[in-house]
């Protein structure tokens, strides 16, 4: 089976780098303690059962018997301990959020591992899949420099496929793990992840049947309409239920007049999200209603009962707000000028920026677009803070803790760190709610807290939320059972099979 991964990963060190192009390959090799069913409930995987202590401060996992790593070493609780404490806690980029409460891992016997927590961490049970917190083999890493370990690019895990070969610039080959612990699985003998830098050629490779699967919107939205008419291909939007993401505008509150709430709200009112959805995203996605992706509706955290910026008289409101903020139109019809930093991760962002320039001109905000390469752009925005408006794309993780905490908490104003609170939002009341929700064990109480938090954010408008992103997978009709759970492309193709 040939799948397209775009762009080529720079490394397969899944435990230390969380770029979105690594999991489609790495999750075939590394597994997590649990996996998730379509309702996002944890299901046994490397752990057969688990129990959360009544005070929420420890989780006891019973581990599966008879699991071996690809190097032949048996999987035991020592591997769990080492993976969590020595690798993930120290080097995983999300550890400061997901593993902040983790203080240790007890291993009373070979097949029992107890995660010890300083405070309850209800979000942790959502993040134990191989995509988020993978389990590595202790003997591979012990006594080595973790970040320089040779297994970074020759990963060794317990998963259904073993690492075979990586020809840089071309492909990664994965081979069937004959000793996989699920009897009879996987069905495929090989998975080949191909890297084709040009979008049109990627589409062509699918159309000719050279490649069978392209997840994570590796195919341009513009090409999808044509793909759908191809009799050998089909598309699905399933498999992204645990991959919520929003496209947004970040407004630098240190740069007047963006320090005024009314001005930020006016910008939010001035944009017609339906135009972006239709012309930039080709209809894939939904207009964003607030700071949380609507995918969180399934678990009860999402609400759209917040200030609605998508109302029929939005332009009048925007103009009124700007007038009220003491920003009258000048001779050329413009009230003030701002720079918009164009996202460097693809052409669609330039198109969105072009629309934004027109949309904001209507209410008298004169945008100048600035396109720079990725390194320059990231430095300007997150280190130098030398920006007015930025158009990033924010993935929201498996729990609101992830997306909300890093983006809006006052403590997340961290110079030089990318994709955290760079809009200088600071609201003690909001911080309090988020910190409470982080430790609240009762799901319904958590939901109430998060709804309150969304309400406050929508009112303060530190960011403008544009599109609730929907990814698409394109696949050859001969490929079956490829998307078997909510993690989709980011979980193993253990049951996939190819018609001959």
């Amino acid at each position: 089976m040939v799948m397209i991964v775009q762009p080529e990963p720079s490394t397969l060190a899944h435990y230390a780098v969380t770029a979105g192009n690594i999991p489609p390959i790495a999750t075939q090799i590394y597994e997590g303690l649990v996996t998730y069913d379509w309702d996002q409930n944890p299901q046994p995987n490397l752990a057969t059962s688990w129990e959360i202590a009544p005070d929420g401060k420890s989780i006891t996992f019973k581990l599966r018997e008879g699991v071996v790593f690809h190097n032949g070493k048996p999987f035991t609780s020592a591997d769990v301990q080492f993976s969590f404490m020595e690798i993930l806690k120290k080097y995983h980029p999300f550890a400061p959020l997901l593993l902040a409460e983790l203080t240790g891992v007890d291993t009373p016997d070979e097949k029992t591992a107890v995660l010890l927590l300083a405070n309850p961490a209800p979000y942790l049970m959502k993040a134990l899949a191989g995509r988020d917190l993978p389990i590595m083999c202790k003997s591979v890493f012990e006594g080595t420099q973790i970040l320089q370990n040779p297994s970074a690019n020759k990963p060794i895990g317990t998963g259904p496929f073993k690492f075979g070969q990586w020809d840089r610039g071309q492909f990664v080959r994965l081979d069937r793990n004959d000793k996989y612990w699920k009897p009879g699985l996987p069905y495929l003998d090989h998975i080949i992840a191909r890297f084709i830098p040009d979008a049109a050629t990627r589409s062509a490779a699918l159309e000719t049947g050279e490649a069978h699967f392209a997840g994570y919107s590796a195919v341009n939205y513009a090409d999808l309409a044509r793909m759908k008419t191809n009799p050998i291909l089909d598309t699905t939007m399933k498999g992204y239920e645990m991959t919520p993401a929003l496209s947004v505008l970040e407004l630098n509150a240190k740069h007047p007049p963006l320090d005024k709430k009314e001005v930020r709200q006016a910008i939010a009112y001035a944009i017609d999200r339906k135009v972006i959805l239709r012309d930039v995203m080709y209809g894939y996605g939904k207009p964003a209603t607030g700071p949380l992706s609507s995918l969180f509706k399934a678990v009860g955290f999402y609400t759209d009962d917040v200030r609605n910026y998508d109302v029929p008289d939005r332009l009048e409101i925007a103009n009124k707000l700007l007038d009220g903020a003491g920003l009258p139109r000048g001779a050329n019809g413009m009230r003030f000028g701002m720079h918009l930093e164009v996202n460097s991760f693809g052409e669609q962002w330039l198109r969105q920026a072009e629309y934004l320039k027109q949309a904001l001109a209507i209410v008298g905000v004169d945008l100048t677009l600035r396109s720079e390469d990725t390194a320059t752009w990231l430095r300007r925005v997150y280190t130098d803070y030398d920006y007015d408006i930025n158009e990033p794309f924010l993935s929201q993780g498996v729990d609101p803790v992830y997306g909300l905490n890093k983006q809006y908490l006052t403590s997340q104003i961290r110079k030089g760190v990318t994709f955290v609170n760079d809009s200088f939002y600071a609201n003690p009341e909001f911080d309090g709610i988020l910190n409470e929700a982080m430790r609240e064990q009762d799901h319904d109480k958590r939901a109430v807290l998060y709804k309150k938090a969304q309400h406050i954010l929508a009112e303060d408008c530190p960011l403008v939320w544009l599109i609730d992103v929907q990814y698409v997978s394109v696949f050859n009709r001969k490929l079956h059972d490829h998307t078997t759970g909510p993690l989709g492309t980011q979980q193993a193709f253990e049951r996939a099979w190819l018609e001959t």
Partner: protein
């Protein structure tokens, strides 16, 4: 013997040039804002300051520029191109595995362009204003004006999607396990479209240049003299005109051969060809300085060698020139 000494002399004098290039590249690269740690962290979505400090320490970015430079030069002196932290691999192995496909594509495309360009130019010039001259001139004008990436995409549409004759992209059929001649055939099938779309522009250029050059030479006095001596037109063409007409082609080809390493990013991208151009581009984008410097260094060496080769070819073509 004199020849060998000349080449030795040229190579020795090239050393300070290459050292100068190393210094200049190093300084230029450090002028670019942003660093590898922030790009890596940016792709990861989030990171702690401690994690980024650790990355910078690992990459050696926490040292002073002078120290970094000294480390770099001393590595180079030991023929150690360094380590690409972004790719978790040795720079030399990263470059080596791309060198084969790049050379194959470049030599095929360049060889075809030069050889066919010379022949077409000659054919056009000898039948000036005839139908074959007009056709060749028209085709070369179109080829000269067509962007390579567009041509590449059109070929994919026609030959891969439409007719199904050629594979869309890649170096060979992954996992097919071909060996021997089957593998050669497989690679050749993958090579056709990238090589053609890369070669066509140069081919047009050389055809036009060759035509003009031949026409210019046929008006020279020595051609009249040769005719007066009673030599056949064929002999005049191959023995006298061709050698003189080739000089400008060698000059231009020598200059353009230097472009070859970097000049194919577009074609590499369209056809997913694992070449050095995309490697360099990605290294630049991610501020992978060790890798980028090594590629620059290699290009510099290559250009020195090509210049030398051009000078040697001059002497072979034109005995009047001295070394």
């Amino acid at each position: 013997m004199r020849f060998a000494r000349y080449i030795g002399y040229r190579l020795v004098t090239a050393l300070p040039v290459i050292f100068g290039i190393i210094v200049l590249n190093f300084l230029l690269i450090h002028l670019a804002p942003g660093d590898a740690a922030s790009v890596l962290a940016g792709e990861s979505g989030a990171a702690t300051p401690e994690y980024m400090d650790e990355l910078r320490h690992k990459f050696g970015l926490d040292q002073s520029l002078g120290m970094q430079f000294l480390t770099y030069v001393s590595n180079m002196a030991h023929f150690n191109l360094g380590y690409s932290y972004r790719n978790d691999a040795d720079v030399s192995s990263l470059i080596l595995e791309r060198l084969g496909p790049t050379s194959l594509l470049m030599l095929t495309a360049f060889g075809t362009a030069v050889a066919l360009g010379i022949i077409l130019g000659l054919v056009a010039a000898t039948g000036r204003n005839s139908w074959r001259d007009n056709i060749i001139s028209l085709i070369s004008l179109v080829a000269y004006a067509t962007p390579g990436f567009w041509l590449g995409l059109m070929m994919i549409v026609i030959f891969s999607i439409g007719l199904g004759w050629l594979p869309t992209s890649g170096f060979d059929t992954v996992g097919a396990g071909h060996e021997g001649w089957a593998e050669v055939w497989d690679v050749a099938r993958h090579l056709v479209m990238p090589a053609v779309s890369l070669a066509l522009f140069y081919l047009a250029l050389y055809a036009r240049l060759m035509r003009a050059s031949v026409l210019e030479q046929t008006g020279m006095d020595y051609v009249t003299t040769a005719r007066a001596k009673g030599q056949t037109e064929r002999r005049i063409m191959t023995g006298h005109v061709l050698r003189n007409a080739l000089l400008p082609i060698v000059t231009i080809a020598g200059v353009q051969a230097g472009n070859l390493i970097g000049g194919s990013i577009v074609v590499e991208t369209v056809f997913g060809w694992p070449g050095i151009g995309t490697l360099a581009f990605n290294a630049l984008q991610s501020r992978d300085l060790n890798l980028l410097l090594a590629i620059f260094f290699m290009s510099a060496c290559l250009i020195v060698i090509i210049n030398l080769a051009v000078d040697v070819i001059y002497v072979m073509l034109d005995p009047r020139m001295e070394i």
